[in-house]
């Protein structure tokens, strides 16, 4: 290219998108609107001028994307990621601000939009391609490639209503994957389907990024973001809170919003919290089998011990201590209590400092960030520390060491990833 510095391929300036709350719930009827206006002319006029209840899906978003860059967009549900993509792909329009795009835009927000069940695979390839912005001669040129990638050669002249849903998705993705825009907008919806299909999608995405095309990638799949994107922005409540090329750091900050950036694998009482005579927690942390403190991330090939320390002033035989394990999505994975075993194994406490240890077995949790919350109570009488309210907590970030098998090295779907025993035998 020229020596002159190129303008960024995407410029987003002071972008705002506002939705009216309640507007979308019911469709308006013309008859209703007219009769309302006729019956309550004053109210209608006042309503028109009155400020509406609004929801800011995006507020003052600014960023630029250079040609050939792969930018990841992350954030929680409702942070504005999808709205941003919808604005960039002109499905909806901003309330304020502007976007400048210097290249042909293609978006993969939804696979198979415009597929018509009555039409054949061949017809749908052309129609879908045209919807995605391809020209007929482009589709002609890539037709064989598309068909081959999808693997539906035999059913090309069958209406797609006779296809299995898997075949439809494959065909739709093949069309979309052969789109060659300069700017590609991708939403994570692509990551539906079975593992093999996901891999195929990811492979294609990587290819696109390697070819030097500009990709804007929205996903919840942090592995994919880290793998594909050289730069990333983190959205929170419609604003960019972090932006930069240290993708893994931003991903971490997103997964656990903490100033330091490292997930706390310990909790220490600052001295005046949770004061009570029965059990006052002082410290909670995780160690390996030898008692050495562990810090996140933790490999899944070792047992992890949760150590809880606290002081007891008034011993009570009903004292129950335990923890609740939460998944990344804040769903309860399980509860565990020191009373879970037979009575003979229950510890007996006296006045003084108590230490409790409990094992979280290796190869039980998945590659994920879990939260452990301490709870304690007087059995059947009262909560001392109630989980889900405000209680001591720490994070357990499991990474790697899923198994020793060469076939199981990547994260599998699921909230846990237990290594189960298998036996195989032949009948005579």
């Amino acid at each position: 290219m020229t020596s002159q510095k190129e303008k960024p391929i995407i410029e987003v300036r002071h972008l705002f998108k506002e939705y009216r709350i309640g507007m979308d719930k019911t469709y308006k009827t013309l008859a209703g609107s007219v009769s309302d206006a006729a019956r309550h002319p004053v109210k209608t006029l006042r309503d028109l001028r009155a400020p509406k209840d609004t929801f800011q899906a995006l507020s003052d978003v600014n960023f630029e994307v250079e040609r050939g860059e792969a930018l990841g967009v992350i954030g929680r549900n409702g942070a504005g990621k999808s709205t941003l993509l919808k604005l960039l792909s002109r499905i909806t329009y901003p309330t304020m601000g502007e976007v400048i795009m210097r290249g042909r835009v293609g978006s993969l927000l939804e696979v198979g939009t415009g597929f018509h069940q009555e039409l054949t695979g061949r017809e749908n390839i052309y129609f879908n391609g045209a919807i995605l912005g391809m020209k007929k001669r482009e589709i002609d040129a890539k037709f064989d490639e598309i068909v081959k990638f999808s693997g539906v050669e035999k059913f090309l002249d069958t209406p797609v209503k006779r296809y299995s849903s898997g075949m439809q998705v494959r065909l739709a993705f093949s069309v979309a994957a052969h789109l060659e825009p300069e700017i590609l907008l991708v939403d994570e919806v692509l990551a539906v389907g079975d593992a093999e299909f996901q891999k195929k999608c990811m492979g294609k995405m990587g290819e696109v990024a390697d070819e030097g095309r500009t990709v804007l990638f929205v996903s919840h799949n942090m592995n994919a973001i880290e793998r594909l994107c050289k730069r990333c922005i983190l959205l929170e409540k419609g604003s960019i809170v972090q932006e930069g090329s240290d993708v893994s750091q931003i991903v971490k900050d997103y997964l656990y919003p903490q100033k330091e950036g490292i997930l706390p694998s310990q909790w220490i009482n600052d001295g005046n919290e949770f004061q009570n005579p029965w059990f006052e927690p002082k410290k909670m942390f995780v160690t390996d089998s030898f008692g050495n403190p562990l810090s996140n991330p933790i490999s899944n090939d070792q047992d992890v011990w949760l150590q809880i320390e606290g002081s007891i002033e008034t011993p009570d035989p009903a004292l129950d201590i335990g923890y609740v394990m939460y998944t990344e999505e804040n769903a309860t994975l399980y509860w565990s209590s020191l009373y879970d075993h037979e009575e003979s194994k229950w510890p007996v406490f006296s006045q003084g400092n108590a230490t409790l240890k409990t094992k979280i077995p290796k190869r039980f949790l998945n590659e994920e960030i879990y939260k452990i919350e301490l709870y304690s109570s007087l059995y059947q009488r009262m909560w001392i520390i109630e989980p889900g309210k405000y209680s001591p907590s720490l994070n357990l970030q499991i990474q790697g060491g899923l198994s020793d098998s060469p076939y199981w090295v990547e994260r599998r779907d699921g909230v846990i990833a237990p290594l189960m025993e298998w036996k195989g035998m032949m009948k005579d």
Partner: protein, 283 residues
């Protein structure tokens, strides 16, 4: 890869997305870029229609044919409706041919945006094309139904005059009228869902104020201006006149109709462009 020509041809291509655009700020470049999509939309419209109905293409013939027979029995036979000196079946069919094209295309066009809500909320394409496609697709049905008219003209021994060269102009104007009304109605339908139910009624009334089953001469001289406000009046009259050659073409009326049609067409584009920004938020 073979298709990276875009970058070379258009190094300074800029697409600016802003909350508002001007009244007639059409992106011609983009319409040109996507023009094949319009063709595909029309083609899809046809294919689906012809595949979903058991009778396929014959439907395009049967609808005007049966309507003509019924009208001939009731209006031509029982009511003794005047028909500008030509056999009533021929009179009504030549009107129905254009009318049924208009009616079917407008119904489909008016509902097109709501029906294609997935296209609106999931992908970008020039929205203008969606209500335009039914008008284009309908021309094929029109051509098929024309065969019957040709047969009837042979039977009744009518020959088109040289004025038949005007037929493409009349069809183009009808297409623009359908498209323009379709832009208005489809955009209103997105916002107000009850319009959908009013639409057939509206179209029915339109037929009765157009000279489909009666000649416009049955209204007295002093009421002709009323009929001429309806752009369909001159279109249907001219359509009949150029095909059957039984009467001269009313050029001033056709010009007036063209003006109103263009007004509806252009204002329809403006209205659709102004409202399309919120379609995805509404559907």
């Amino acid at each position: 890869m073979g298709n990276s020509t875009m970058t070379k041809d258009t190094p300074d291509f800029e697409l600016i997305i802003r909350p508002k655009y001007g009244l007639l700020d059409l992106n011609w470049r983009e319409l040109k870029e996507y023009h094949e999509l319009l063709y595909f939309l029309a083609l899809r419209e046809l294919k689906i229609r012809y595949k979903q109905t058991a009778m396929g293409a014959s439907w395009a013939v049967l609808q005007p044919l049966f309507t003509m027979i019924i009208f001939s029995l009731i209006f031509g036979g029982l009511a003794q409706m005047p028909s500008e000196g030509i056999p009533y079946p021929l009179f009504s069919y030549s009107g129905l041919l254009l009318w049924i094209y208009f009616q079917n295309a407008l119904t489909l066009s008016g509902n097109s945006l709501v029906e294609n809500h997935l296209l609106l909320s999931k992908v970008y394409l020039p929205r203008l094309f969606i209500p335009t496609a039914p008008g284009l697709a309908g021309l094929v049905d029109y051509a098929v139904a024309m065969i019957i008219l040709a047969a009837m003209m042979v039977y009744y021994q009518f020959m088109p005059t040289a004025a038949v060269f005007l037929l493409p102009v009349i069809l183009l104007l009808t297409l623009l009228l359908v498209a323009g009304m379709g832009y208005w109605l489809s955009a209103v339908c997105v916002k107000y869902r009850d319009v959908k139910f009013v639409l057939p009624f509206f179209i029915q009334i339109l037929m009765f104020i157009s000279p489909v089953i009666y000649p416009s001469s049955i209204l007295g001289e002093n009421l002709q201006w009323l009929l001429s406000l309806n752009p369909l009046t001159s279109l249907i009259n001219a359509h009949r006149a150029v095909l059957l050659g039984h009467a001269p073409v009313d050029y001033p009326g056709l010009a007036m109709s063209a003006a109103i049609t263009l007004l509806i067409f252009i204002s329809g584009i403006v209205y659709l462009r102004q409202t399309e920004k919120y379609f995805a938020d509404l559907v």
